[in-house]
């Protein structure tokens, strides 16, 4: 028991490294603030373009979504960070991570919004058009608001995953929460910083987990 407390909840270590972890947490939050809105935006664009029902465009969009869902986010990040410089396109850690995570999450968000748009009966957009709205206006003001409301549960679940996935940015040495904890662990030779990082994620994300799992249960209940 003493060994566990000494290793995982070492008070001296906590006092020593918490500023480092706080700065890591800050970068994690910045990543989330950049990636979630961008992913939603790109995903929404993909879904709206899909609703145009242009045959070849849709083939491309489905391919995009499936590819983004097939590549692990870490693989996207490594290809972007280590592979693109050969093309002369050198991105620093933060933008590389934002790009990789946005590509990854836009696939999932795109699929969710597409399902949402498809859940709205066509009569809605036809009625909107007949009142004189353009196709774009009908989509933005009539179809999308209802579509988004229908997909709040999967959006929540997916956003939770996007937040968690920001930890992969540690693999390209971006000092977010996990990376900072690893650096701190190297300084103090005990795993308390890792425990602190894990507990930070747990405390911050637990409320979202609760909400997400309630939503999931609702989704699975047959009507």
């Amino acid at each position: 028991m003493d060994l566990i407390v000494e290793s995982f909840f070492n008070l001296d270590t906590i006092r020593e490294v918490y500023p480092l972890l706080l700065s890591g947490l800050w970068i994690t939050l910045l990543l989330v603030l950049a990636c979630v809105p961008l992913g939603v935006l790109v995903g929404l664009t993909v879904a709206v373009l899909y609703a145009l029902r242009a045959r070849w465009l849709n083939v491309l969009l489905v391919l995009y979504v499936d590819f983004m869902r097939a590549f692990p986010p870490l693989v996207l990040l490594i290809v972007i960070y280590y592979g693109l410089p050969f093309l002369g396109l050198e991105l620093r850690e933060f933008p590389a991570a934002v790009l990789a995570l946005t590509l990854n999450s836009s696939g999932y968000y795109g699929e969710i919004f597409r399902a949402g748009i498809e859940s709205i009966p066509r009569g809605q957009s036809e009625a909107a058009r007949s009142t004189g709205l353009s196709a774009l206006q009908a989509m933005l003001w009539i179809v999308l608001p209802q579509a988004v409301r229908n997909v709040v549960p999967p959006l929540t679940t997916n956003t939770l995953e996007v937040i968690k996935i920001t930890a992969v940015a540690s693999a390209v040495a971006l000092p977010e929460l996990l990376r900072s904890a690893r650096i701190a662990q190297g300084l103090v030779y005990n795993p308390t910083p890792l425990m602190m990082a894990a507990l930070t994620y747990l405390v911050l994300l637990w409320p979202i987990v609760r909400i997400a799992s309630r939503f999931e249960r609702q989704m699975m209940t047959p009507h």
């Binding site: 060994l3 490594i78 280590y82 799992s213 047959p222």
Partner: protein
Amino acid sequence: MQELLYYYFNWEVFWRYLPDMLGGFVVTVQMAAIIAVAGLWLGLLLAVVRAFRVRPVNWALMVFVDVFRAIPQLVIIVFMFFALPYVGIRLSAFWAATLSLGLVLAAFAEENFWAGFTSVQRGQWEAARSTGLGFLDALRYVVLPQAIRLAIPPLTNRTIAITKGTSLASVIAVQEIINRASSAQAQAANPTPLMMGAVMYLIIFAPLVRLSRRIEKRYAVWSH
């Protein structure tokens, strides 16, 4: 164009690293298979345990599920590999990653199977019991098949997402696809191995993603 081919689709580099990359492919597939099978079974088992509704046990299960849902997979893997040895638990990199992801999948699966159980209507239980089936038989022959069917669509997506996480094992130096691709890339000073790695992930996961679309349509229960 010439340059693009030279850097990203260099045949000479391709052939030189192919055997090594195939070795990585095998490791990734092995990990993914173990995680999927063990995670789903453990999840189902835990959901069955929860059906007995023993209060302290269920509390423990809920804590397990929430902890493994809230903490990022990479954090769990790093913790298993770098932190547990301090209390005398030493796992090889392969098993630290496989165990971490297996437990994460088990947590999600438990939750989905359990949600499946609870959405099978109470009358079904009662009807099954009234025909003379015991608790376990009612569970096995009446409730489980329906619950599993309900849990299939969310679980297919979840299983794909978590087995994709095998790439995270590269961080603790498991020699799977992306780990080997990165070192080959550094060695050859050419990103062709990264492209090979990306294509390998497509070969493994693109068919599964397509399959999950089909399954979603086939088993769709919620529609608005």
